[in-house]
Subunit: 743 residues, 2 copies
Amino acid sequence: MVRSQHAKGDGEQASVRGDDQRLVDLSADLRPLDDEELACLRQVGEHWAAAVGGQDPAAVALLVDPGLHRYPEAAQVDGGGRFAPVDVRTAEATGEVLATEQATEPLTGPGRLLSWARRVVVGHPRDSSAVAHERMRKLVALPVLASDALSSIAYGPEAMLAVLVVAGAGALSLSLPIAAAIAVLMVTVGLSYRQTIRAYRSAGGSYIVAGDNLGVVAGLTAGASLMIDYVMTVAVSIASGLQAITSAVPALRPASVLLGVAAIGLLLAGNLRGVREAGAIFAAPTYAYILALLLLVGVGLIHGAGRGFHASPPPDVSATQAVGLLLVLRAFASGATAMTGIEAISNSVPAFQPEHWRNARATLTWMIALLLTLFAGTVLLVHLDGIVPRSDQTVLSQLAHRHLGGPLYAYVQAATAAVLLLAANTAFNGFPRLLFFMARDGYAPKAFLHMGDRLAFSNGIIALAVVAGVIFVAFGGRTESLIHLYAVSVFLAFTLSQAGMVVHWWRTRAAHWRRSLTVNAAGAVLSALVLLIAAVTKFTAGAWLVIVLLPLIVVTCLRIHRHYQRADDVLRLRPLDREASGQVALPAAPAGARQSPAGEQETEESPEQLRHLVVVLVATLHRPTLRALAYAASLGQPVLAVHLSPDQQEADRFRDYWHAWGDHVRLEIVISPYRAIVAPLARYLQALHQQRPELTLTVVVPETIARHRRHQLLHTNVAARLGRVLRMQPETVISTVPFHLPT
Amino acid sequence: MVRSQHAKGDGEQASVRGDDQRLVDLSADLRPLDDEELACLRQVGEHWAAAVGGQDPAAVALLVDPGLHRYPEAAQVDGGGRFAPVDVRTAEATGEVLATEQATEPLTGPGRLLSWARRVVVGHPRDSSAVAHERMRKLVALPVLASDALSSIAYGPEAMLAVLVVAGAGALSLSLPIAAAIAVLMVTVGLSYRQTIRAYRSAGGSYIVAGDNLGVVAGLTAGASLMIDYVMTVAVSIASGLQAITSAVPALRPASVLLGVAAIGLLLAGNLRGVREAGAIFAAPTYAYILALLLLVGVGLIHGAGRGFHASPPPDVSATQAVGLLLVLRAFASGATAMTGIEAISNSVPAFQPEHWRNARATLTWMIALLLTLFAGTVLLVHLDGIVPRSDQTVLSQLAHRHLGGPLYAYVQAATAAVLLLAANTAFNGFPRLLFFMARDGYAPKAFLHMGDRLAFSNGIIALAVVAGVIFVAFGGRTESLIHLYAVSVFLAFTLSQAGMVVHWWRTRAAHWRRSLTVNAAGAVLSALVLLIAAVTKFTAGAWLVIVLLPLIVVTCLRIHRHYQRADDVLRLRPLDREASGQVALPAAPAGARQSPAGEQETEESPEQLRHLVVVLVATLHRPTLRALAYAASLGQPVLAVHLSPDQQEADRFRDYWHAWGDHVRLEIVISPYRAIVAPLARYLQALHQQRPELTLTVVVPETIARHRRHQLLHTNVAARLGRVLRMQPETVISTVPFHLPT
């Protein structure tokens, strides 16, 4: 049951283990105890039994029936309309209590309103047992996972032409050979990913492939590239989709940033609903788009055939730059963004219906074929028609105007916009899954392990929406600015993934390993070449940002991992040391060693080792205070009351009240002539702790709680502030004793 | 010692009581117990003694020395450099512990950095005993409190001319009679406020005068007007000051909003330093400004005398509107904004050196004289020179260009800008003081009672800066838009204050009451007239906003008051009812009556009435959890452990661990198939509470605390979320048991 923290390349075993371990798994955040820890647990238990004799469970049963067997009506009574009718349903057979859907409802007013809105937008929560059904058929998976790659046709060729046109209209004819090179690249990378899917039958994303075969840093670099890639996919796709809309309806141009943010919000809501329904929403537009482009290319070629395939010369554009190698390479790097999203399918193999990998592979082949057809067709058509990129209209819009017009033009633009807005959805599938894997290996916060109540990784989805939204707004939603940040991360991930596969085949020598190795090597070399070209030619245009960000992300991941490892070392159960287990009496105050709070830890792990001092904060003598004093006294431990006065006069007055009450609890008054409240109290508690560090201080804070949150502002709440200040102090428990106002 | 919640008009006594009660007083937020409460306190104490026999104070003394007498070194030891060397100094003579300045230092890293920055900007904290010295001499009080009124010259006449010029250049000659009317108004209101200062010798702000004599609603209306007035003073003064700057340096115009926000920030910091130092900062610019305007008017009149006081005709401006009564009245209402700030002195009588009221009165007289001179001089000069208001240059700038020029021009503009930026400071004196009085009467949140460690009302100062900043930015920092919101609130406060004085004289019949009543009545009638004119003529231009806001503020104040009253009724000590005091045994579960949490209150006020159930939340079995279990068990109360599982399999595994440990504590497992964490736990605790509402549930939450805050994001903190959800549940104490990571 022991899980290694991260998998390093160790041959065949890696991919085999991958099969059962790399599936998304619900209890990934619940680490099972290993044998050593279990042994420690037993030892601690025996020690506890010897020291305190064990509590009589009947004591609790006498008080309440925790399983609520005998009091089903207690859980059903609806008092003032504020409790849901059925809270907790007892599973009689097992003795466990089962939380129903209602039990996930928030208890507070605003929380409930939010929850209602959430139900409307996101849907009802789903039982964990539904996870097996959240799988996509090929016909659904193609639009969901290929929309990114296919939609790249809308900006890839345009980005290429925009670079070439700088050297004048004549240079545009270079688009054909450059496009041919990109087509070769597409086929190579596509074939290469087919090998990956075969070898990594669960989730063979670049992160895992590179990490398994090239080591941790390579894996994290691939992961970081993919993270940037996903963010850019969202930003670029939405920017480009809005360009398609504003080409048709120029009046909307001023609102495009706002529309983009709204689109990201829509995707966020859609994806929080869960993966299958998201697929259903997105299937239609993608197919509509494929049909639209096929129609456009088809009609365009028929028109071209009518002219005997003679290319119309483009309108004269004055050159501002000579044609040179750098320009051609930059155009190539820009055009290669038409390939973005090709890896999506290999990252999402587990989302397919079984047999996962076969279905994924077939879908990938289909996608590559479609991508090639549409890319080649579009570039050819642009060449034949002599189209020049314009700032107010996309190239696709110009083509559609020329060959279709009228309602068909509107159809092409609408489908393009829809598919681009939805292409961003691919990232919403991939990004949270990537973070899940990284979090499971301890390289990302564990919060990304938690599956939302709709079986979607809500935290990852929300994180992506926020980051992409910020980037989109920061760049004013302009495709041409965003696209320069794009190519580097995409081809870095490609390169690492395929280089990893080369090592994989070399190590495993699995069936057909020679052929696979050759294909992957070709893919890796070509991708590396594009990466180099993109990094050099686009460095000043924005690629530097990505090149700076990548190592930062990798270092952050490594630091997170280091923190988790250290924390695990500290948190895991360990054998009781002889001294503590032998000696049941109170250990002597360990003086010097305990003075530094930095390395200080709570060590007492069985009840007899704890000595208490309960400190009650007393501001004024009203009912909440007396209630807190009663609470503290009733615990049967030594109690000390602490009062803070602004001056001596106030202090004397308060001491008189205390005498009138009867001095039942020892009172200490701290005079705070600087009128600060929290800091002097915290200092006083700190001094108490330093005096006898072996005492556990329970700080009881009375809190007046108003019924409405807006009224809460009218009452000072010291507990929260004190808790924040004292959080670093060891052996200090903060207990808030509430007193509820009826109003 | 009983303080009435608010003072209603009850003749001479009101102003006498005012003398000792209306001073700003440090312990205003510490309400003394009245006799009834003291009796209750004694009764509760006797009952407690009878029921539990009283705790032996020696028990605490054996554990620690709370006064830290014997362990002075304990408080002085500096462990890892994180504790201040001296925390708590014991005042040997009194037995109290005295918090030193170091003890007000925050304990956490970021808090310390913030605190250091604060010390640099705001200064070191001040001992409460320094409050008596924070009084202003007349020569300092004049610039601090009169800068608002005097600086109004910079925008009042200009606003009047801007209205008249709409009817063409010819209409500008109407400025002389209108200005004469305003001058009459100034003298009347000024005399009227002299009466107020004499009668209300401490703080005779409109809020208190109107409240005392006309009733609560009138007082609150005056208070609300003043609040708006102060906010508008800041916004208009800063906008107008920036106009003076951009008249001289047009290049700065695009940055004016940014500069305005920076100026507000500067005022915020200056005022947080405390009132006297603020005065020292502001004295020089105000005197420089008075000198500058006197110089300008003097030179201008000499120039005019050279021409035999013949008025130059203004340049021809085409009229877009005919001269009519409405136009004249609107010009009058706009010009009357030159009077804003006249009331500042009467609101701040306690800030003067003793004899407060005499010094205040003398300062008021000086201020009115200066105001009249400068106003009349400016308007006369504008008329003689035939100046027309322009959008790119202020009227004062035009005058200074014409009569002075060169370095003297720069001096006039700089002094005007400085005094306008600083005039806003008047509001920073008045606003927090107003909120203090309103809070003491229970009409504003009690947070405004708290004096900061520099003896300034920090909360009020910060609130003003934030609101004024928002208004300033929202109106783009344009004086002409802001000024329309100004007049209504100013003259409403004037009217209510002086009407209140009329009632006051009628009731008290103090010395010279007839003359005073007449003066105040004249002031009230004239102010009411201007109020009416302003409300009608500026309604559509923005005054409607003020007219809507005023009742909203008044209603909010009344609601706050109602809440505090109700809360006081509930919170104050009350006699034990016979049943509870007679019966020491556990009261029977009061079934139905306790089912509704809405009106539910914690009633147990002595220890023997409490029955405990300690519930420990157990997520996984690691050291923090075991520590929390040990803490719970060591309290010696019944303990129940609750674990949340996503599915049955996980639940079974956990139960096995629990058996391995030895089942020392009863375990309950809640299965949450929807993967929610906080809500099902909260529901379960709710059901427990409903089952036995007389039990006090202590929910023990283990919390892993990382050393660095950024690492805290890597650990889930359920305690805070659970606390928020369960805050409405009665009898539920949340205890967080920390476990500190060394990393």
